[in-house]
């Protein structure tokens, strides 16, 4: 496998505060790579560094074989970007947005126009070809932004929180499209704070906190590396008191957050048998997931 993004020890400070503190990432061709992290962890700044939109204070970086930021322009010819906030042109129709955007890549109008029908079909927007942007729903705008990022047939697509603010139907459609792109051999780099999204889509991911990568690997590997395989969530008014008195007896590790006690166990049977005898407590038994890893590594406190 060949690396399409390779970054070593990237650093970036704003106003003497280091936002990215030595990030190293290697992403291989055809991979879907996720960058997870709480708000303010440095995800968007890392993406901007990788795209060559800002210059790092230190570190080495290659994007598609080009040194960045020195040859960022050449590299970005072969990259598509789905930004966090919609920035479609509100004065234009759906098709005009694609045409105008393709021109920024130096494409001829005829070349772009030949690609538009397939892009619209990919985005399920064929029937909206001549619609103005303000008339589109949030999901349609996101799909158009994704189609716009594909106008130059890029090798890598950067997606900054691609499904934030979308309803479940719209999210599932985006996920399906992203899977199609990886099947076509495209490399995807996405940031998200939806753990189910990362678990479903990403081959590999890195958890970023306070500007550093604190863990990296496949979703399964991260779960098995950091978390016991089973989780029993016990909730209700008396869950906290119950946990303080009993949880340590049944679970190697437990945490109380609000009115929920999270018990991490290898074998859930003894705990479940105990809980069946306490009708006043409700509980949920489930396999460990990426969210458990994320919360263990980055803590439960709010980041604001």
């Amino acid at each position: 496998m060949s690396a399409v993004i390779s970054a070593q020890n990237l650093r970036k400070s704003y106003a003497r505060q280091e936002v990215v503190s030595g990030v190293s990432i290697t992403i291989n061709k055809g991979e879907c790579f996720g960058l997870l992290g709480p708000n303010g962890a440095g995800k968007t700044t890392t993406l901007r560094l990788l795209l060559g939109l800002i210059a790092p204070d230190g570190g080495e970086l290659e994007l598609l074989g080009e040194p960045v930021p020195r040859h960022a322009r050449e590299a970005r010819l072969r990259v598509g970007v789905v930004p966090q906030m919609d920035n479609l042109d509100p004065d234009f129709t759906v098709a005009e947005n694609l045409l105008v955007y393709g021109r920024y890549f130096g494409m001829k109008d005829s070349e772009i126009e030949a690609r538009i029908p397939a892009l619209l079909e990919f985005a399920n927007l064929t029937h909206k070809k001549d619609a103005k942007i303000p008339t589109l729903s949030g999901g349609m705008k996101r799909r158009l932004t994704l189609a716009r990022a594909l106008v130059n047939d890029p090798e890598i697509i950067f997606l900054d929180e691609p499904t934030t603010g979308l309803d479940p139907q719209a999210r599932h459609l985006i996920w399906q499209r992203l899977r199609e792109l990886t099947q076509q051999g495209k490399t995807l780099l996405l940031t998200t704070h939806f753990m189910d999204e990362a678990e479903r889509l990403c081959h590999r991911l890195a958890i970023l906190d306070q500007g550093r990568i604190i863990s990296e690997g496949s979703p399964r590997a991260l779960i098995s590396q950091h978390i016991e395989p089973q989780v029993v969530e016990v909730f209700g008014e008396r869950a906290g008191q119950w946990a303080r008195e009993n949880a340590a007896h049944y679970a190697g590790r437990f945490e109380v957050s609000g009115e929920t006690a999270f018990c991490y166990v290898s074998d859930a049977q003894p705990l479940l048998a105990h809980l069946q005898g306490h009708g006043e407590l409700r509980y949920l038994h489930r396999p460990a997931n990426l969210e458990d890893v994320f919360l263990k590594l980055t803590g439960r406190e709010m980041r604001e």
Partner: protein, 259 residues
């Protein structure tokens, strides 16, 4: 990526200019009517109203005197509005620049396109006034055709200066300062409505360095069929303002957008 490095110019501004033009095309009819109606109203209103009280000014009728000023302030206004309000909308509110900068286009290209587009709007505004001047029979000299390239040059100058404000602006309200403290005084000090010689000496000195004066000093003789004295200096001054404004605004935009 040093903020102070010189602008790197390329032809990549063309697709951005075309984007702005395509947006304009959708409201072209309204825009053109505005460009034509505004000078007609001013020239006829002030020209007949004030002109009947002031039978002659600078050796011509007041309406002819006012015509040269109207060409210049129209180009100033249209470039300034485009660079400030529309430019800010594209940079900040609509995030159009952000979308463009994710492609192989650089900030230098984006800022150059803004200046050239705002200057294009000046060119249209200037041509509309010149058309009105001809229709009203206020100038019969073929030299008045030179006001067309002058509109473009003045547009480049005022667009570049205006973009400095756009780069510094926290919001739209900020532009009030520029219009009240820069644009309006320039309109009154630079010989648009009355000869600069009517001003006290100190204000005449101030007037002489303002860009609008240089434009008016070129435009007025040309409309009367004479070659403007000191034209090279005036052209150099306008071009100098344009170049300096481009560089300063680019440095400020680089700083603002690298955060």
């Amino acid at each position: 990526m040093n903020h102070f490095s010189l602008p790197r110019l390329s032809l990549r501004f063309i697709p951005i200019w075309r984007r702005h033009f395509l947006v304009w095309k959708k409201v072209a009819a309204t825009s053109i009517i505005g460009h034509l109606a505004d000078p007609i109203i001013y020239l006829l209103g002030l020209g007949y109203g004030l002109g009947s009280l002031l039978p002659e000014m600078g050796g011509t009728s007041y309406m002819v005197f006012l015509a040269a000023g109207t060409v210049c302030y129209s180009t100033m206004n249209s470039a300034s509005f485009e660079a400030l309000y529309s430019g800010f909308a594209r940079m900040h509110e609509q995030r159009t620049w952000e979308a463009i900068l994710n492609t192989p286009v650089t900030l230098d290209d984006v800022v150059l396109a803004e200046i050239l587009w705002a200057a294009s709007k000046s060119l249209m505004a200037g041509m509309a006034v010149i058309l009105v001047i001809w229709l009203l029979g206020l100038s019969h000299s073929p030299l008045s055709l030179w006001l067309i390239p002058l509109s473009l040059l003045a547009g480049l100058c005022f667009a570049s200066i205006g973009l400095i404000m756009t780069a510094l602006a926290p919001g739209y309200d900020f532009f009030m300062y520029y219009f009240t403290l820069v644009i309006t005084p320039m309109m009154l000090l630079c010989g648009v409505f009355f000869p600069v010689t009517q001003l006290p000496p100190l204000l005449q000195t101030v007037s002489a360095i303002l860009p609008l004066s240089h434009a008016v000093d070129i435009a007025r003789p040309l409309l009367n069929g004479a070659l403007p004295p000191g034209a090279t200096l005036h052209i150099a001054a306008l071009a100098g303002y344009a170049a300096a404004g481009f560089y300063v605004s680019l440095v400020l935009f680089r700083r603002r957008l690298s955060r």
